[in-house]
Symmetry: C2
Subunit: 477 residues, 2 copies
């Protein structure tokens, strides 16, 4: 029983239980392949095991931890399994988990520089490092006109870009008096839904988002963009924002950033580049060509929480001109005023995104970069791409399966030649086997299987086994 004068866990108790939790996680990774990758539970099955009434008396920590095994694990879809090939990876790693644990332990709130200078300065420093490593435009460095900030997701980064663009085109009047002009934004028909959500949130309206047509690789057609902008201008509306994608969600298509960027410069539009998963590839010089033309972008983001072994949430958002972002997001109530902010010598990241509060997320990113080194990260990224290309070659060598599009990196879009219904059944059969998890998309109105390789512990044997299972399952159907 806990002492009656305090219900807190003491540091000594924390040592004891904390080490049990560390062991629990290590055990989990050791046996992760024994679980069905996609949770097989029915809706309501997990809740039905939880007591209806809230706990009035405290419980021993050990009995809470026990429920992780019996109640929680059956309801977990194992994103960290090496047999997880669904959606995009959201990979984690030891150094990242431990960096994040230290962030929870310190419990600092880095809304402004003064509330924990290290929280701000490590973030700025590490994001500057990424500009160097990934050969991003120099304007994105904090010593230049721009800078980087960690946001939760690419959705929030897209929203921040849309708002900055909205304020820039309107001379900051929308923040003041609301959206009045008819603004028009552009993406390709393959762009992530977050841009539509952002445009709605910003008060611009989904009707004013144009879906530009794509070429045979599902990349945005710059000529179609140019024509649409021209048409919209003739119609008296105000084009203001383009989102281009390096590695679309559906099929990993690479929009031609340089051509799109030139059009944006010419027409005075904000260019945001979303490289949520694929940006990480730029850690390797041989993939940096995917970023060609990025110096023409006003903002850019990628997610170390997807493919860079840094557990969710960690989106790196860069801008070429920080003054616009800050002016768009800035607030300064009396209770947050302080000398450091007034001196102008510091960054207050609260003015770089929607939330005010923020945790010390830079720690996990700093830990990952130092633990792996650029060399280690490059090794694993290359390995994932190599495995994906090998998988693609198996598809090409098969009589029953076909590639739907040539994979530029680590996502393979393929299908069985037997048609949509067969592929849908194949996917369901594979996923319900528990041995792997993959998802689908539609490309040119055709049902396509997506096979995404990027989990931390995915090795050749997992990809080989998956391919065998796919073939034998197709035969049985």
């Amino acid at each position: 029983m806990k002492e009656s004068h305090s219900f807190h866990m003491t540091p000594e108790e924390f040592r004891y239980h904390g080490k049990k939790v560390i062991d629990w996680i290590a055990d989990y990774y050791e046996k992760i392949e024994s679980f069905p990758v996609l949770s097989p539970v029915e809706p309501g099955e997990i809740r039905s095991q939880l007591p209806n009434d809230p706990p009035l008396k405290g419980e021993e920590f050990s009995s809470i931890l026990k429920d992780m095994e019996s109640v929680i694990l059956p309801g977990v879809t194992h994103w960290q399994s090496p047999n997880f090939f669904a959606f995009f990876p959201a990979n984690a790693s030891g150094p990242s988990i431990l960096g994040d644990l230290l962030s929870s332990g310190l419990g600092v709130q880095g809304m402004i520089w003064a509330t924990s200078p290290a929280c701000t300065e490590v973030e700025t420093h590490v994001l500057d490092w990424l500009v160097e490593i990934m050969a991003l435009p120099r304007a994105f460095k904090s010593e230049s006109t721009g800078g980087g900030v960690i946001q939760d997701t690419a959705s929030s980064a897209a929203l921040s870009a849309i708002l900055s663009a909205r304020e820039k085109i309107a001379g900051f009047s929308a923040n003041k008096s609301g959206v009045v002009d008819k603004l028009v934004a552009y993406t390709s028909s393959q762009t992530h839904s977050s841009v539509e959500k952002g445009v709605k949130i910003a008060g611009i309206g989904a009707d004013n988002l144009r879906a530009i047509s794509v070429d045979s690789t599902f990349a945005m057609d710059p000529q179609a963009l140019k024509q649409q902008i021209k048409k919209d201008k003739e119609d008296g509306t105000t084009p203001f924002f383009v989102c281009a994608t390096i590695g679309t969600t559906s099929s990993n298509a690479i929009d031609p950033i340089k051509k799109i960027g030139e059009i944006c410069k010419e027409e005075g539009l904000w260019l945001h580049v979303d490289a949520a998963m694929s940006g990480t590839a730029a850690l390797c010089p041989e993939f940096q060509h995917l970023h060609e033309g990025l110096h023409l972008a006003d903002s850019y983001c990628f997610n170390p929480h997807k493919w860079m072994f840094t557990n969710f949430d960690c989106n790196c958002f860069f801008v070429a001109d920080r003054s616009i972002l800050i002016k768009t997001m800035s607030i300064l109530p009396e209770y947050l005023k302080n000398k450091a902010t007034e001196s102008g010598a510091v960054i207050d990241y609260r003015d770089w995104h929607v939330p005010l509060g923020r945790r010390f997320r830079a720690l996990k990113l700093w830990f990952v970069l130092r633990y792996y080194g650029v060399e280690g990260l490059q090794y694993h990224i290359r390995e994932h791409v190599r495995l994906a290309q090998e998988f693609a070659s198996w598809i090409e060598g098969s009589n029953e399966f076909e590639l739907v599009v040539r994979p530029p990196l680590n996502l393979i879009c393929f299908r069985h030649i037997a048609g949509d219904e067969f592929n849908r059944k194949l996917m369901e059969s594979l996923n319900s086997s528990g041995k792997l998890y993959l998802t689908h998309t539609m490309l040119n109105d055709i049902f396509v299987l997506r096979f995404s390789i990027g989990q931390t512990n995915t090795e050749k044997k997992h990809v080989e086994r998956a391919w065998e299972l796919i073939k034998t399952t197709a035969k049985k159907l």
Copy 2:
């Protein structure tokens, strides 16, 4: 040296280093009072210790961990110190830190039910528990018309409320074609800056946010609200949203929710209630009267990451009618379609907030509720309020200091009678002593010291020592 064929940390290495990190955190809490509460570093001091060039080769984990002590700690403002009385608390606890660690370890991404049913169902269940424990309106329960969701911050919750209100009043046309009507929102002059930020983001414009005057307790004056709404309607604009606060940031003022709610019902306005810190008090029946009238609210939020021993980020956002929120935020691209979503039998939390991705934040909240039990949480909340009231009585008994407003809960607003300049110097002198950290605000154009009691390990002796230090420092000035 790490093996050349993999740069990953193995489960065995994770066991070893993880336990070192657990010890590091336990040590930190044991010696936390030996650090200056407010970091004394100068701008740039932390960065100057970081190597300019990014790490090309990986490092041993132990050498990274060493830098936590030498590089990071000097740049940390110790939010978890029992001598932290600044801003609001952002308290953490052992069970919360360990729940969060398990969330990082599992590394699941709960954007939709299917991507980890437990992530969604535990969240729904625990938020339903909170409705019971805190005696919140039944409409906020998932089995009713509403429900709860964990967001990162009260800023994001306010934005979600503003957007829902905007869509409701406009018949969901702003999402479609943009903001066109002149919409008007209302807060008190004391409301948190997040509402202004949300109104800007939503494309409504800060000029269309009315700051309603307050009474002598700094609570919103309902009559002034009613008159302003009338005037705005006469001017041809469309009032649509009111944010009332239970416990304002400046002075912990409690807006009269019932009266404001009646006006909102009468006029057809959305009422959002922000109880970011003070909502937690409703764990105790004797403080539930502060929520009187909450059944008239359309949305409500409070932050367990402020005063409920759950480390950042954890904002609980409730709505009375979830269909409006979901319709406002909903997206459904092909690659996220799945049977569970189509069946309508599950919650997909991606449609309850701005980001798409989300971590398993409910774990830490579940752990806190079970470890403390309602009884344990009540004990500590009552203790904080009792200490604050005692501190207030010392101020009242003093000849040199005065209360600026009667403290309803755990935040004391006071000042030395010697005027603004003296109080500013007093605050700076106290904070640079390193022995405590408090902040200020302006109330009726007067500089006021804020003393917020709510850190996990703050006990009577800390408050007593702080009072002694405040008195002796004032004498010396």
